[in-house]
């Protein structure tokens, strides 16, 4: 059981890392700011999401697991709002 949990953790966290790295590649390679913003938000949400998912079986108790999920929801929610605001800044800079 513990081995199974560990395997799950390794798989999910690795998947999360792939998304983080993909996000970084997107940020470096994409030509315009709006695409870079897109790459950034995808990487954040999915990357952190899979890392949280992978860490869930390692939690000592239910409360810790709930806190982990809550952190992910918080980052999702605030990240979406932040991306909206950054996009507004971008639009204003392009059309002054």
């Amino acid at each position: 059981m513990s081995l199974l949990a560990d395997l799950f953790t390794v798989a999910a966290v690795t998947l999360g890392l792939v998304f983080f790295v993909a996000g970084t590649v997107g940020i470096i390679r994409f030509p315009d700011s709006l695409s870079r913003l897109h790459a950034l938000t995808k990487a954040d949400n999915l990357g952190l999401g899979f890392i949280v998912l992978g860490l869930l079986p390692q939690c000592a108790g239910v409360f810790d697991a709930l806190k982990l999920l809550f952190i992910w929801l918080l980052v999702q929610f605030a990240g979406a709002t932040g991306a909206q605001l950054v996009a507004r800044v971008l639009r204003r800079e392009e059309r002054p």
Binding site: A43, D64, K67, I71, G82, L85
Partner: protein, 95 residues
């Protein structure tokens, strides 16, 4: 498992550091604002991985605070850039 999680934290930090170099160079203000967002989620991820690597579950609370305040900072910075973009300068009317 400890070794794996430590290496994972390293990979997250590496991604964030390389991305940081790109977004901080700009050229637009929006690009630089992305640095705050990138750092926010990246450091939350690294903090969680460190927590489980070292068996330090108290770090989860720190990741929670990090998530909340990094979000706050990103929003405050964007608002400030929006306001100043309208008035032509970071500073606003007096500048």
């Amino acid at each position: 498992m400890t070794a794996f999680l430590n290496i994972a934290a390293f990979v997250v930090l590496l991604g964030v550091a390389i991305g940081l170099v790109r977004v901080l160079r700009g050229p637009s203000r929006a690009d630089r604002l992305m640095a705050v967002q990138l750092l926010g989620s990246g450091s939350v991820g690294a903090c969680l991985l460190l927590a489980f690597a070292g068996g330090r579950f108290a770090f989860i609370d720190i990741a929670l605070t990090l998530a909340l305040l990094a979000a706050f900072a990103a929003i405050a910075f964007s608002l400030s850039a929006l306001d100043s973009g309208r008035e032509g300068e970071i500073g606003g009317p007096e500048s």
